[in-house]
Chain length 133, copies 4
Amino acid sequence: MGITLLSAEKIIQAAKEKCGEMNVKMNIAVVDAGANLVAFVRMDGAWLGSADIAVKKAKTARYFDFPTGEIGKLSQPGGSLFGIEHSNGGLISFPGGIPLKDGSGNVVGAIGVSGSTVEDDHAVAEAGVAALN
Amino acid sequence: MGITLLSAEKIIQAAKEKCGEMNVKMNIAVVDAGANLVAFVRMDGAWLGSADIAVKKAKTARYFDFPTGEIGKLSQPGGSLFGIEHSNGGLISFPGGIPLKDGSGNVVGAIGVSGSTVEDDHAVAEAGVAALN
Amino acid sequence: MGITLLSAEKIIQAAKEKCGEMNVKMNIAVVDAGANLVAFVRMDGAWLGSADIAVKKAKTARYFDFPTGEIGKLSQPGGSLFGIEHSNGGLISFPGGIPLKDGSGNVVGAIGVSGSTVEDDHAVAEAGVAALN
Amino acid sequence: MGITLLSAEKIIQAAKEKCGEMNVKMNIAVVDAGANLVAFVRMDGAWLGSADIAVKKAKTARYFDFPTGEIGKLSQPGGSLFGIEHSNGGLISFPGGIPLKDGSGNVVGAIGVSGSTVEDDHAVAEAGVAALN
């Protein structure tokens, strides 16, 4: 199913270290190729409501194999995917979710990060992605 | 209830052939006159998140007897149906869902397609509709 | 993700043929290794309410890698798993769902069948399983 | 809110080591005093459907400050809490969830474990509890 727990833990560790550098507190989720949760952490003091958002960002990124922010560009009023967030039990379409790919470019899961500005969320998610390979 | 399984399978087969011509991978759903699922397929490699969207597009098209994209024109901010997506357990109001009609013009079900651009989704749905008659 | 659409269609075709022999009308669902829906059919005249049950049986069988009826033996009042059906958005724990395994014994998905007695449902599911290998 | 992420990680680590000794594969969740998720892991090969059950066990244990199995004794047919599983978005009332207490006996969170027999689940949860103090 793509991502092992060991990989997910390595990804989360890297994301947490990035949070330390940036002085932010995040919720971090990793899902596998089937969009099922593998690992999750909420850092002390991170927003409670961001736990569900982190999980939904990870799922959304795997559901469509795109960074969540790319979906959000198309789901605005007047956009071609307006309202897509109503599917799949609720999607999150702003930045912070990124697909995880293996060395051959196959999507093997996704990371979702929530707890600060969406720019910060995305930067932390990128640090997690970088730890996979 | 209108659409037989045999008809639904014919519709899905035509939609899949269209996907082959267009080189796209889709989730395809057919519902009957009662908006209940008759048949569904997810093509290998199609987006996981598009399964729910395909089903919701088919249901939405039958719930209101309009192509889903027509509903989306009215559900934008300021529009007369703004927020309609919150009903019925979640609607999808962008293109890809089309009602199915019998020879007399009666709605007997609907097809929903998701997996590419909304233009592609709609084109594949039209190929399915064409196979009914 | 285990099951291809071609395999799922072969499984469903075999299940439908078994239904013909048994003179029953079923809802038949196939999920992949991630418990995500790959294909579904509702035979003409089959119970509407069995569509959701067929999908839930397939998911339940993959969630725990057991035939659904085995879970039901443990989820009765006084049993060790009493009330497990409240998890995962609703499980179905009576017979009709069976894991699908590849030649090496790895679970690659599951089939769920609903529309008659649970004995009939299970028999049709077994016919689907037999078609995989 | 009681449990820090560091404590939760220590608890999960101890639970994972217990799994190694017992040769079982578990889903393990830790919630804080507010019954909100702090950390979660799914071990490689653990049942997919046990992820939701582990989280629900942890929440159930904190919601009522009892081991989940104690609640199950009262929720059987004819029991005083029959049907309590329908509340709170779904409870799990068989063993595997245990409240976490600080040195003064105050409940500061809970652990939920799912992936084997309920006796095994409970044993692994106890190993997690033991790691807190």
